[in-house]
């Protein structure tokens, strides 16, 4: 016993360090599989409230940008009127779009994050898609009463489906370097993407409607299986986000019922 106490007191610094490193490593590994990280959501509400307060400062100085964004959005909505040829914003009455303010976001990291000021009290649930007039943004992964956390496209796990009209489906992947560029993988070799092709996001109907997310700049062929990899200029400026929409499918319940196992 005496030996043990002596040992503990002699190496107390190292032991404390080991405990602290162990705890943070534990916390870090829990963050990796995005679905379950309860320990990381401790205090999520408090942190989000502080972020909200800090953001109102930025919001004030950003009024001009918000104005421009609204003007752009107005133009996009006009473009989606029945008379227009290329709809930016899908005319889909099955969805309810919940407007949300972006409290905090990053775009310079390998794995970026985003906080919205809507939560369960606005009917937001995990798994819902987030879009803007400029295209796909991300998926809701965590909610509290009045805040929600999003995994954006600019994340290791933010990949989604991408579709070029008439040329089939691929996977839209961000490679971690430039926030203005993503890559569309796995387009079949018969359909070479050409410059200017529009890329629509493609997800399950429960998540979001397809939205125009970017335009093809160039394409290279994968030497292994001859599929095409297209470089896509993203339509949405991820460095400058103010307002986004969370998509809510009106008849989500009846769709879910179809998935229930047979009795």
């Amino acid at each position: 016993m005496r030996q043990l106490i002596l040992f503990l007191s002699k190496y107390r610094n190292t032991l404390l360090l080991i405990v602290l490193v162990g705890f943070s490593l534990f916390r870090h590994t829990l963050k990796n599989p995005i679905a379950e990280h309860r320990i990381n959501s401790v205090g999520f509400n408090v942190i989000a409230t502080i972020q909200n307060a800090l953001n109102s400062l930025d919001q004030y100085f950003g009024l001009e940008e918000v104005n421009q964004e609204l003007a752009r959005e107005n133009a996009a909505l006009r473009a989606s009127l029945p008379s227009a040829k290329a709809p930016f914003f899908q005319r889909d009455s099955n969805y309810e779009y919940v407007p949300a303010r972006v409290i905090e976001y990053s775009y310079t990291k390998r794995n970026n994050y985003m906080l919205l000021d809507v939560g369960t009290k606005d009917g937001i649930e995990t798994g819902m898609g987030v879009i803007t007039h400029g295209g796909w943004i991300g998926t809701i992964v965590e909610t509290s009463e009045s805040y929600a956390s999003v995994i954006p496209l600019l994340h290791l796990k933010g990949n989604i489906g991408g579709r070029i009209q008439g040329k089939g489906l691929g996977e839209l992947i961000w490679d971690g370097s430039d926030h203005r560029v993503a890559y569309l993988h796995d387009i079949q070799r018969e359909h070479e993407p050409t410059q200017g092709d529009s890329v629509y996001s493609f997800t399950r109907a429960l998540v979001a409607p397809p939205v125009l997310s970017g335009f093809v700049v160039s394409a290279t062929q994968n030497p292994e299986d001859l599929t095409w990899i297209a470089k896509v200029n993203l339509n949405q400026d991820f460095a400058n986000l103010n307002w986004v929409y969370v998509c809510k499918l009106d008849e989500a319940n009846s769709l879910e019922e179809l998935n229930l196992p047979l009795p």
């Binding site: 107390r12 870090h28 829990l30 990381n40 205090g43 942190i47 310079t108 971690g176 370097s177």
Partner: protein
């Protein structure tokens, strides 16, 4: 520096980090992290456990803000672990009672020591954020740009706050 002033300085630095530096549109790669200034100016007479616990708390707060798991905590702990060795390597052996900490050094030697510590902290942080060694080139680019700006800001902070440069 007593504990109260340390807490006040921490709150100030975290506020500065979040109100002005986060999402700074200067560089698309990386972000300056000035909060490690607190770790650099921790008084050397403070005992080791308190230093570790302060580091852990500061890192955890940054992690909660950035939703980065434990990356900041781990990087900060890595910094505080090698800090005494780096100081000894550059300054030689000093008696504990003569040791006044980094806050009272002249600018040249402060920058030298701080550069080593900042690069070490940033490379740990970005590797942790990357979950491994894939895309090492991007990790290095992020480390380079972020370190340069962090070191610049830290030197400005040092010139502003150090007693050495205060008006007499």
């Amino acid at each position: 520096m007593n504990l109260f002033r340390l807490i006040l300085a921490s709150i100030g630095v975290i506020f500065f980090q979040w109100a002005f530096l986060q999402g700074l549109p200067l560089i698309p790669y990386g972000n300056p992290y000035v909060y490690i200034w607190i770790l650099l100016i921790l008084p050397p007479q403070l005992n080791r456990q308190r230093q570790l616990i302060i580091t852990f708390l500061l890192g955890s707060i940054m992690d909660s803000f950035e939703q980065s798991g434990g990356a900041h905590t781990l990087a900060s702990l890595a910094l505080i672990v090698i800090k005494p060795s780096v100081e000894n390597a550059f300054l030689g052996f000093r008696k504990p009672e003569e040791d006044k900490g980094l806050a009272n050094l002249s600018m040249g030697i402060f920058l030298l020591i701080v550069s080593v510590l900042v690069v070490w902290h940033h490379i740990t942080l970005f590797l942790m954020e990357n979950y491994g060694f894939e895309h090492l080139d991007q990790v290095l680019i992020r480390t380079l740009f972020s370190s340069i700006i962090t070191i610049l800001l830290l030197s400005i902070l040092h010139a502003l706050t150090s007693k050495r440069y205060a008006k007499k």
